[in-house]
């Protein structure tokens, strides 16, 4: 039994790693295409039909590029930083149920690597650790722009992480558990959390969604690697696959947070039927698309504006939201 469990877990880990590494690559293709269509361009067209093999070309380029370690950088920290970003992104995926459990050859598969009882705390915590990638990479780079980006990363991090934590407190109080599977089962009986408790769930959903943009560093809050201000921020001095790891980490994070939002607020995979699984994937696709959509439509805010938003607007709303939820539930 123990051996079977071990083998099953390893297989699941490998599957999640492969699928989401590939998805990160394909995600860049979708991002380029969708941004292009929204800006009346064509996007990648030349490599393969409709540019579909662009991902492969980019992969070959990243893998075969020279790995430059510039002088004056703190080499060990510089080398390890991208690994932190990529690995924490995938570690966070361990507690996410990607699909409802299904039977295959008479064997029940639970598409979650570890259903731990602190699920959502673990996910947010590990995603928070992911900050060390940009922070250490930026500080070790011996580059002004990287250093600015690291400082911004730290400032942004303490701002949005408060909102993330406080916003999910109300749903956690409703469910009474931290496991995402319990969240899902709660929503089967009581309806989606978004519509629960007279709008409290909706406010929590909006707050968490906004914080997710800061968490993944996507466009309204794309401050850490803001091209037009600080070049590529922490990624300025990186080349080849080390930079690619940052990239994979960022896109994997986007996919995982796109899984977490529907699981927390929008009913997840529902009752576990095939239709429910498709529903979850559709929700994930929508949230991923929304990340790209906002990038085409919205301008970036300044770091001080983001901190103002998080501390002066979103955090009070989140606290009031928790209070209201508590009063209603009593």
């Amino acid at each position: 039994m123990e051996v079977a469990y071990l083998i099953e877990t390893i297989i699941k880990v490998v599957v999640v790693l492969t699928i989401f590494s590939a998805l990160a690559g394909i995600g860049t293709y979708f991002e380029r295409k969708i941004l292009a269509f929204m800006q009346r361009r064509l996007g990648p067209m030349n490599v393969g039909p409709y540019g579909l093999l662009q991902v492969a070309a980019d992969g070959i380029k990243l893998f075969t590029k020279e790995d430059i370690i510039p002088t004056n950088v703190v080499a060990n920290v510089f080398k390890i930083a991208p690994v932190i970003t990529a690995s924490t992104a995938f570690m966070a995926a361990a507690a996410i149920p990607f699909l409802p459990s299904f039977d295959i050859f008479g064997y029940t598969v639970h598409p979650i690597i570890a259903d731990i009882n602190v699920g959502i705390l673990y996910i947010l915590g590990i995603m928070g650790v992911g900050l060390y990638g940009p922070l250490l990479g930026g500080m070790a780079s011996a580059n002004k722009f990287s250093l600015l980006s690291a400082a911004r990363g730290a400032a942004v991090f303490i701002s949005y992480e408060v909102v993330t934590g406080l916003s999910i407190l109300a749903p956690i109080m409703m469910v009474g558990s931290l496991s995402l599977i319990d969240f899902n089962n709660y929503q089967i009986e009581n309806g989606w959390i978004v519509f629960n408790l007279y709008g409290v769930g909706f406010v929590a959903f909006i707050l968490f969604w906004i914080a997710a943009f800061a968490e993944t560093g996507r466009t309204p809050f794309h401050l850490i690697a803001n091209d037009h201000e600080i070049i590529d921020g922490f990624g300025t001095e990186y080349s080849g696959m080390r930079w690619g790891l940052f990239f994979i980490g960022e896109y994997a994070n986007m996919f995982f947070i796109s899984f977490v939002i529907p699981l927390l607020f929008l009913g997840g995979y529902g009752d576990g039927s095939f239709l429910g699984a498709l529903g979850l994937l559709a929700k994930v696709a929508f949230f991923f698309f929304f990340f790209l959509w906002t990038r085409a439509a919205w301008p970036d805010v300044r770091p001080d504006q983001l901190m103002w938003l998080c501390w002066k607007v979103l955090m009070p709303i989140a606290v009031v939201n928790i209070l209201i939820a508590a009063i209603i539930m009593i």
């Binding site: 800006q39 009346r40 959509w293």
Partner: protein, 203 residues
């Protein structure tokens, strides 16, 4: 093309943007934040890009495969025209283009042929020096040297010459009647005939 030729800018739907004053006190700033938060301007932006995506109105020109139409007045690599009637070369070897060329890129040599007419024996343009100002086409009395629309003249060296034979309209193009007249700089303007005045011989 029509839209670009309309130079009348005073009545094209331009209007002054209504910018309100910035709030100075805290209450005013608070009101502005609330107003902006619930006005839904962010959704306007989302809708605009979504609308453009759904329309599929793509403006990309996939350059080496597709090319923009080029205006007849465009000044790219030179061409030597032939006479429509006799298909003979228009160039009379007067040398004005060589004289007027401000970057000294035209070099020509002439001789008297057996019919005791002047004939071009050597004619080269150094495209590496040419600034495509169009003076040669303007000064040419016979409308012989003109500018064409061929702008892809990259070369491996800075000195990149084209010669007389390369510029001359091929004879088969003449028989097909495909020689294109240059409409820019020095060419005859439309309705030129109407503007011609007879020389007053009375004085």
């Amino acid at each position: 093309m029509e839209a670009f030729n309309n130079r009348n800018v005073d009545n094209n739907g331009y209007f002054m943007v209504d910018i309100e004053d910035y709030p100075t006190d805290g209450w005013g700033k608070f009101k502005r934040v609330v107003r902006r938060s619930f006005k839904g301007e962010l959704f306007v932006g989302l809708w605009v890009v979504m609308r453009e995506m759904l329309k599929g109105n793509i403006h990309t020109i996939q350059y080496p495969m597709e090319k923009m139409p080029i205006g007849p007045r465009y000044r790219a690599v030179h061409e030597m025209k032939r006479l429509w009637e006799s298909e003979a070369e228009r160039c009379i070897g007067c040398g004005l283009c060589e004289k007027i060329c401000i970057s000294n890129c035209i070099q020509m040599d002439t001789k008297i042929d057996e019919n005791s007419r002047k004939e071009v024996s050597a004619y080269t343009i150094n495209l590496g020096r040419c600034i495509f100002c169009g003076y040669c086409a303007e000064v040419c009395p016979e409308l012989a040297i003109t500018h064409g629309g061929e702008y892809e003249n990259g070369s491996e060296q800075r000195e990149h010459y084209i010669d007389y034979a390369g510029m001359l309209t091929p004879l088969e193009m003449m028989t097909q009647g495909k020689q294109r007249e240059f409409e820019g700089f020095g060419a005859i303007t439309p309705h030129e005939d109407a503007g011609v005045k007879k020389t007053p011989l009375s004085y």
